[in-house]
């Protein structure tokens, strides 16, 4: 049985990525895992008492988003698992791919006009190539239609 990992964050591309994951999992009867990464990189500076609070709230948001994705998959007849990672997104994804036996990773394509893209100016393609090379996992980037 193949294992598909679908990285989610919420939003339009996330919905498209989830739909694609459900479609693939259904077609091959694959194991589907939704992955959400809790990261504080984009919240600006956090005060001493705030790091823990922000981490707790982001984890809470992630838990709800994962449950929504899981329920959506269940409605489509696919049993999905969930996993929450912590830390910088790139590292957390790579860590997860190395610890699980994964065949395919699905991620939504970031739009370039986003404020602080992790992959500015076409940085995504090299990241995908290098991650594929390091982990041996095939990666599919789901583009907005």
């Amino acid at each position: 049985m193949n294992t598909i990992v679908c990285a989610i964050r919420g939003g339009e591309a996330s919905r498209l990525t989830q739909e694609r994951a459900i479609q693939l999992a259904k077609a091959d009867n694959s194991r589907l895992i939704y992955l959400y990464v809790v990261h504080l990189d984009n919240l600006g500076h956090l005060g001493p008492g705030e790091v823990l609070a922000a981490q707790t709230e982001l984890a809470w948001l992630g838990k709800v988003l994962l449950q929504i994705a899981q329920r959506r998959a269940s409605q489509a007849g696919v049993k999905a698992e969930t996993f929450m990672g912590y830390g910088p997104v790139r590292e957390a994804i790579e860590r997860f791919l190395q610890q699980e036996k994964v065949d395919l990773l699905l991620i939504g394509a970031p739009r370039q006009e986003t404020r602080r893209p992790v992959f500015p100016n076409g940085d995504l393609a090299p990241f995908v190539r290098s991650l594929e090379a390091r982990t041996g996992v095939k990666i599919e980037v789901v583009q907005d239609k």
């Binding site: 919420g10 939003g11 008492g49 823990l52 709230e57 939504g108 394509a109 970031p110 739009r111």
Partner: protein, 563 residues
């Protein structure tokens, strides 16, 4: 009620009562206007509504006369406004847009002053010093009304940074150039120089730089000292909130007391700008989230009251009947045309240059920056601060003419530009997201209201008021309606998946607030001690503060990966 005269003519206790009455009257009018604007769904900017109400007072048999002085506006009302504006400016975002902002706010103000001055000299035969003083005072933009639109329509944060940043810095620049023009005008009027034209000397440039940089340095130092001396060691929200007042008015006063030349002092407004930016970006790191919320709420209220009073005073200060004269209308029309022309030239060329130098500003943003360049409090305060003989004994009429033109331009920008900026934003496609946002609010509002109705029906049944088939029928009808409303929310989420995280965060915030209220209740019921309650409230405040940051970071326009 002439507040200033009252201060002079009546014993202190009477004066205080009269002042207090005037203050209460103003706040009552403000509250009424705010309620009406809120009722009509914020279709008219609140500040514009205040001006209109103020103008309407012209036609009352007994005018509400308030002596608006430059000092009242510039020293008491403007610093809180500027501070609150600077407080929310992200240094990171400001830094990324500093080039276009400084091009517009420094070079742009100088060029704009010159263009407006030249037009007035040519068409209205106004003395050069007066023409350039007007050019400078009218260069200060006031984004309050426009920013209100931005918030309602949720336009790009970058556009808001450009508009707010330009306004913060051009206030200071305009005041400095205005004072330089007055100094030159005074020299011409007293015969110190025989040349009536204004010539920019190296000394003026040096003075300009010293006044601006000096002001910024004062604000930075005051805020930094407060940060190290108070905010780091002290952990008390009352003390820390009080100290922010010292920072605002203290930095303003200190800068205004430091003479750069015989007739120029450092810029108090720029001092407040620097203090606000430093405070907003550095100090919160050393504050508890609860204290930060308290400080932000305090300045939000202070700024709301100050803004409201200023705009109401603008309306009250303009006697609309004075415009009913061909000569006056002509002066105002020429001033408006000059201001629009110079603004267009400055905005489009500064942003073009910025693009050439590496920081491009999209064309739709340029249109909004041009048309959204409203004028307000600073221009008015500077015009009101001119003495009748400012430009010499023979030029007494000129000061009145300048005031009238200032009021005219402020009025035009507020009423015409202010009322059309919202449609412009929609037309340019800069307000697309809020359509979903507004729909989300509408559908959630309906669901919330229907659920409340359902609960009331159940309560009536529980208390025995409703029973039998009537209750069953009503309960069924409400259940269907709640289901339908819920379905509408789900459909919206399906159509706009990007709203999902926002709704989750919104619900979480409501839940945390309910937890907060429950803790306050728990203390009343002696379930927890004050110390434990304080500790738990701090925890919830930290989470609420974190949620604010998470919400700000949500830019769910299609990507999985964080921006």
């Amino acid at each position: 009620m002439d507040i200033i005269l009252l201060l002079q003519e009546h014993p202190p206790e009477d004066t205080f009562i009269q002042f207090e009455i005037a203050f209460v009257v103003l706040l009552t009018i403000i509250t009424g206007v705010a309620m009406v604007v809120d009722r009509i769904g914020n279709r008219v900017p609140y500040t514009v509504a205040l001006v209109i109400v103020g103008l309407a007072f012209t036609f009352l048999p007994e005018r509400l006369e308030l002596d608006i002085t430059k000092e009242l506006i510039l020293s008491l009302l403007v610093p809180p406004l500027v501070f609150e504006g600077a407080l929310h400016i992200s240094w990171e975002r400001l830094k990324r847009n500093l080039l276009p902002i400084l091009l517009m706010a420094v070079i742009g103000v100088i060029v704009g002053t010159w263009i407006v001055g030249q037009i007035l000299i040519t068409f209205l035969d106004i003395p050069p010093a007066a023409a350039f003083a007007f050019g400078a005072l009218i260069s200060a933009t006031d984004p309050v009304a426009v920013i209100a639109f931005f918030r309602t329509l949720g336009v790009s944060k970058r556009l808001a940074t450009l508009v707010e940043g330009e306004s913060l810095f051009n206030d200071g620049t305009a005041i400095v150039i205005f004072n330089l023009a007055l100094v030159a005008g005074a020299a011409a009027a007293t015969g110190t120089t025989s040349d009536p034209a204004i010539r920019l000397t190296l000394g003026d440039v040096g003075a300009f730089l010293a006044v601006s940089a000096g002001g910024l340095a004062v604000g930075f130092i005051v805020s930094m000292v407060a940060n190290y001396a108070i905010f780091r060691p002290v952990d008390n929200r009352l003390i820390e909130t009080t100290v922010t007042m010292v920072i605002v008015f203290g930095s303003f006063l200190i800068a205004e007391q430091i003479q750069v030349t015989e007739s120029l002092h450092m810029s108090g407004i720029l001092a407040v700008v620097a203090a606000g930016i430093y405070f907003g970006n550095v100090t919160p790191q050393h504050m508890r989230p609860g204290t930060r919320l308290a400080v932000n709420s305090f300045w939000e209220v202070f700024s709301f009251a100050a803004t409201s009073i200023i705009f109401l005073l603008i309306g009250l200060g303009i006697d609309i009947r004075e415009f009913i004269s061909i000569n006056n209308l002509r002066s105002v029309a020429i001033a408006v045309a000059a201001v629009l022309f110079s603004r267009a030239l400055v905005v489009y060329s500064a942003t073009w240059l910025s693009g050439r130098l590496g920081t491009a500003v999209p064309l739709p943003f340029r249109h909004v920056i041009f048309w959204g360049g409203l004028r307000g409090a600073i221009s008015l305060a500077l015009a009101l601060g001119l003495s009748p003989t400012q430009f010499g004994e023979e030029q007494i009429g000129v000061v009145n003419q300048l005031r009238l033109m200032t009021f005219g331009v402020v009025l035009f920008t507020l009423l015409v530009q202010g009322m059309t900026t919202g449609p412009l934003l929609r037309r340019l496609g800069l307000a697309e997201k809020p359509v979903q946002d507004i729909e989300r609010q509408r559908r959630l509002g309906r669901l919330y209201a229907t659920r409340a109705g359902q609960q009331e029906i159940d309560r009536l049944h529980d208390t025995g008021v409703l029973s039998g088939t009537v209750w069953t029928a009503l309960a069924d009808a409400y259940r269907d309606e709640v289901n339908q409303r819920g379905q509408e929310v789900l459909e919206l989420l399906h159509e706009f998946p990007g709203l999902e995280p926002e709704i989750i965060v919104q619900a979480r915030r409501a839940a945390l607030r309910a937890e907060r209220t429950a803790l306050i209740d728990a203390l009343r019921r002696d379930l927890v001690s004050e110390q434990i309650q304080h500790e738990l409230l701090e925890e919830i405040d930290a989470r609420l503060s974190a949620l604010d940051k998470i919400e700000k970071s949500l830019d769910y326009q299609g990507d999985y990966l964080p921006d």
